[in-house]
């Protein structure tokens, strides 16, 4: 299985790419950038610089979970996707998995309901 080299999630460019792939946008940019901005360390610290002055980022592996989900995408929608597009979808999956981890890190009480209300 081929694996694309990726900078770490803490790298801003990588983060933007992840978010961009995450289909996040109704204004991708605002959302994506804001998403990236939200990745700054608590207290507003700066993210790693992606410019040429920054140290080169170490490549990061795409997770096995993302590869597994990618296989589902390939089976369901592979006829609509080129190999390059499928690889991009897998990278997006990886970003979404990271985002999901962040969502689960915030502990919620059992009684904390989703913010929508069903009416009979």
């Amino acid at each position: 299985m081929s694996r694309l080299p990726q900078p770490p999630i803490t790298d801003r460019r990588r983060f933007l790419v992840t978010i961009g792939l995450a289909g996040l946008s109704s204004t991708l940019v605002p959302s994506a950038l804001a998403f990236a901005q939200s990745a700054t360390p608590p207290g507003g610290g700066a993210p790693a610089k992606p410019d040429s002055a920054a140290a080169p980022a170490a490549p990061a592996e795409i997770s096995d979970d993302a590869r597994s989900l990618g296989e589902i995408v390939r089976r369901r929608y592979g006829k609509h996707l080129t190999p390059e597009q499928l690889e991009a979808v897998i990278r997006e999956m990886d970003g979404r998995i990271q985002g999901g981890k962040r969502l689960r890190e915030t502990k919620l009480a059992n009684g904390e309901e989703p913010d929508f209300t069903f009416h009979a």
Binding site: R12, S31, L33, A36, Y77, H119
Partner: protein, 469 residues
């Protein structure tokens, strides 16, 4: 013959001319229709010019005003709507090739209300395809081409309400209706140099508007100034039986000339100017200084440390994939303009329900955290965007490396359904506008507009005109 300056007048001033019959609705509509046709293509701002229906409406307005049946400040005022708002006498394309021939046999509630107020709908304005729901990363993400900033057409007009931004900026229409799921009014307002008002979620009916994300989508005005935005909001806001999410509160507006009775407590979150472009930082500081006698600023306020970005990503991803499931599963996304949009929806189809629900559950503590902040402050201020507009020929992630706006205020404001007002506040790189945003608690539009009016009485950035020939 209408002089060029008239196309850049605020709604209130145009209204005076129309009411006193110094200017006729047909004359004004004809001139705007001509500008939409002639200048709109320069900015890829227009999808459909509605000449026939607009002139019919303008003639009606002319007769009514002449007969003394004046409906109010929007009577006879031309306007445009983002092309995700349904209208019965023009296609509604959602900015996307697969829908370029789509038609509806009804008007969206917002359009009905604009017509009832006497506004003259002149055109359907361009937008990023599917409001950006498939993850675009380039200005060229619409079947009408990249939205271009009238200030410098090598740069993007912002998205996803790209057409409303550039059409208002170039004086093609005095105001327009845009939409925001997470940034789509504020960003084009900033990049195009106009004023944009994102209303509280539920203040304006979404009936007839393309759904990207049912729990985040909002329609709102984009215009020359805050006063204009408030006039338009007053016309379109309010309960609508066809949209269960709408509030009964409505929005009544009368311009108050006086500043707030007491200085407004304004929080500037920590980090919002640390890594922005220098001109953005300087113009933000100057804006606060211009208001120093009417605001009490506290700097470096800690913004609640919650997963704003991942939450909005999960919600938009899941709801967007559901809203466009047929397009994604049929493979017709390959007809979209932006290469990234052609595959961007597939990952959304596999977002775990638990992640989506976790994000929706987090919205309650998020709202509580922000509400606690608004117990100490009336408003939050920040640069609307960390940079001026992106180059139209670059991927967004390559546009301004190293620039960042700090805390995720746009996702936070949208997740909590809060209103925000973006106003031009100067210029930065390449002659492009910069912008300041104020955000308030739910249903604080009146306060936002009041402060906006004070700012725009003291400055004239909102009256600057791009080099439109």
């Amino acid at each position: 013959m209408i002089d060029d300056a008239s196309f850049f007048l605020p709604v209130r001033e145009l209204a005076v001319r129309l009411r006193t019959r110094k200017l006729g609705p047909v004359e004004l509509a004809t001139a705007c229709l001509d500008r939409l046709e002639k200048l709109g293509p320069r900015y890829n701002a227009v999808v459909t010019v509605m000449r026939e229906s607009a002139l019919t409406d303008a003639r009606t307005a002319e007769r009514e005003i002449a007969a003394g049946r004046y409906r109010g400040l929007l009577h006879g005022i031309p306007c445009g709507v983002k092309d995700l708002v349904a209208t019965k006498n023009a296609p509604t394309t959602w900015g996307a090739a697969p829908y370029r021939d789509q038609r509806f046999d009804y008007d969206a509630t917002a359009v009905q209300r604009l017509r009832a107020a006497g506004a003259v709908l002149c055109g359907k304005l361009a937008m990023v395809e599917l409001a950006g729901g498939m993850g675009y990363n380039h200005a060229d993400a619409s079947f009408t081409g990249p939205g271009l900033a009238p200030w410098n057409t090598k740069f993007w007009s912002g998205g996803s309400s790209s057409g409303p931004g550039s059409a208002v900026a170039a004086g093609l229409v005095p105001f327009a209706i845009g939409s925001e799921t997470s940034g789509s009014i504020l960003t084009p307002a900033a990049y195009s140099g106009v004023t944009g008002l994102r209303p509280t979620y539920g203040l304006v009916s979404r009936h007839g508007a393309m759904a990207l994300c049912w729990t985040l989508d909002k329609l709102g005005p984009m215009a020359r100034g805050a006063d204009d935005c408030a006039i338009v909001l007053a016309a379109v806001a309010g309960r609508d039986a066809k949209d269960e999410s709408t509030s009964t509160r409505g929005f009544a507006y009368q311009r108050r000339p006086e500043p707030p009775a007491r200085p407004l407590r304004v929080a500037v979150p920590k980090g919002v100017t640390d890594k922005v472009q220098p001109e953005v930082r300087a113009n933000f500081a100057a804006s606060l200084e211009a208001l120093e006698d009417v605001i009490d600023v506290t700097r470096d306020v800690e913004w609640p440390d919650l997963p704003w970005g991942p939450a909005v990503s999960a919600i938009v991803g899941a709801e967007g994939a559901s809203a466009f499931l047929d397009l994604i599963e049929s493979g017709r996304v390959k007809e979209l303009a932006c290469p990234k949009d052609r595959h961007g929806g597939y990952a959304g189809t596999l977002i775990p329900a638990v992640d989506y629900l976790q994000a929706m559950r987090l919205r309650r503590p998020m709202k509580r955290a922000v509400a606690a902040l608004f117990e100490k402050f009336d408003l939050v201020a920040s640069p609307t965007r960390a940079t001026v507009a992106y180059p139209a020929d670059k991927n967004f992630e390559d546009a301004y490396p190293g620039i960042s706006g700090g805390p995720a205020l746009i996702p936070a404001g949208n997740l909590c359904g809060l209103p925000a007002l973006a106003m031009p506040n100067g210029f930065g790189e390449n002659g492009l506008p910069t912008s300041i945003a104020f955000m308030g608690p739910a249903f604080s539009e009146r306060r936002l507009v009041q402060l906006g009016n004070v700012y725009q009485t003291r400055t004239d950035w909102h009256l600057k005109r791009p080099p439109v020939a």
